[in-house]
């Protein structure tokens, strides 16, 4: 095989593996954003965190938000709810950035999949 093509195919394989490992890390972070509050499930994304913070600052309690299944849920204690959201967001994003940095630094497939 032409060396140039062989090197290109090696790199192509590396890029495919790199992209896939990044996607897995992203998917894991998405899962970690799930927060149970009361009997309902929420996604601790930036929008919800900002909204809850606004409602809390405006002393607008109790208030209603939709959970991930689109059921309306009344939030009685905005402080605890916000704390849970921020904690889930921080854990998910911290794990995500650690994984992402590790993947970014890997320069070959063996490193990417932790063979060495």
């Amino acid at each position: 095989m032409d060396d140039r093509l062989e090197r290109a195919l090696d790199f192509s394989n590396f890029r495919l593996t790199l992209h896939n490992q990044k996607q897995s890390a992203k998917q894991r972070a998405e899962n970690m954003l799930q927060v149970q509050y009361g009997n309902s499930l929420f996604k601790a994304d930036q929008t919800l965190i900002n909204f809850v913070k606004t409602m809390k600052d405006e002393e607008y309690t109790p208030f209603v938000v939709s959970d991930v299944h689109e059921n309306p849920v009344q939030i009685e204690d905005s402080e605890i709810f916000l704390e849970k959201l921020i904690s889930a967001y921080a854990s998910a994003m911290n794990e995500y950035i650690i994984s992402h940095e590790k993947i970014k630094k890997a320069r070959n497939i063996k490193r990417l999949v932790e063979w060495e």
Partner: protein
């Protein structure tokens, strides 16, 4: 005949009578109880609701006591329930990498009886080839939803299933739901209806095969669950059964393989469905995995058990 006996103990950190139930009937090719021991060990390591129950037949259990010892079984399971399967012919083709296939009898006819057999009020029924690697499924036990399962799945390549038959019952048909993991509260009326409807679909399998237009002759619980849900929802898009918290389910396809087990994860070989000789390595950490290549689990059983110690 139903016999339930409590074997061994576990650190019961669960809230209330919650737990995880497995069905395992051995055949001449696959030791399902061995797989169930591994899956239960993973549950005990990662989940808070970690009481476990094995539903099996006497022959499989007797063999496991010899091959793995009672001590191993007691450590893995809090309850063992003997329930003889229906033993209706259901020959399924299994893959082990793209290069090997084998056929054997697959006992899944009585899975809908789990609602009557499970000793738990709130149950997570898992297939024995589903390995829990985080605590996301604990969330299900605390939600105000009586019935949940995986509505979507992605492969190791983070892509939706390649084949239509793993996305829909027919190319123009209803979406396929996954019966790999089903969470339910057995005291809920709708849950009762769901399992009854599942039983009805099973008993009239040929009719429903014709009605929903799929070719497969083997009884697939994924399909039965999808049909039961479609009927109960009012023959429209599913709004009845909510997805499990870590939906979509990640799965290792039957033609994928386990390359090695790391100290904190599993490294797999993922094949490319349309060019089966092409593979990439994928390292999976902290992700729940449905590993459909059962022989691959068996080859790596000792290493996987160490992962869940």
């Amino acid at each position: 005949m139903k016999k339930s006996k409590k074997q061994g103990t576990s650190n019961d950190l669960s809230n209330g009578n919650n737990g995880v139930t497995f069905f395992a009937y051995n055949n001449d090719q696959i030791d399902y109880i061995k797989l169930a021991v591994l899956a239960a060990s993973a549950v005990k390591k990662h989940m808070k609701n970690n009481q476990t129950c094995l539903i099996t037949d006497q022959t499989s259990l007797d063999w496991s006591k010899k091959s793995m010892t009672t001590k191993v079984l007691n450590k893995a399971f809090n309850h063992i329930i003997i329930e003889e399967p229906e033993r209706r012919l259901n020959i399924r083709k299994f893959h082990d990498s793209p290069w090997t296939t084998f056929k054997c009898q697959f006992e899944n006819w009585n899975k809908n009886n789990v609602i009557k057999l499970t000793p738990f009020d709130k149950t997570l029924m898992l297939d024995v080839d589903f390995l829990v690697n985080n605590n996301m499924l604990d969330i299900a036990f605390g939600l105000d939803e009586p019935l949940m399962l995986y509505t979507d799945a992605i492969t190791l390549r983070n892509l939706p299933p390649h084949f239509t038959s793993e996305r829909k019952l027919h190319k123009n048909g209803i979406p396929m739901l996954w019966s790999t993991a089903i969470y339910f509260d057995k005291n809920d009326e709708v849950v009762d209806l769901f399992f009854e409807m599942w039983g009805h679909v099973k008993d009239n399998w040929d009719f429903y095969r014709y009605l929903y237009g799929f070719q497969t002759t083997i009884f697939r619980t994924d399909f039965a669950v999808s049909i039961a849900t479609h009927v109960l929802t009012g023959f429209v898009k599913n709004t009845l059964i909510k997805p499990l918290p870590d939906n979509p389910m990640k799965y290792v396809e039957p033609k994928d393989d386990i390359q090695d087990v790391l100290s904190d994860g599993i490294r797999c070989l993922s094949h490319k469905p349309d060019e089966e000789w092409q593979h990439i390595f994928v390292t999976s950490k902290n992700e729940n995995l449905h590993i459909m290549n059962k022989r691959a689990i068996n080859r790596n059983w000792d290493k996987l058990m160490r992962l869940y110690e």
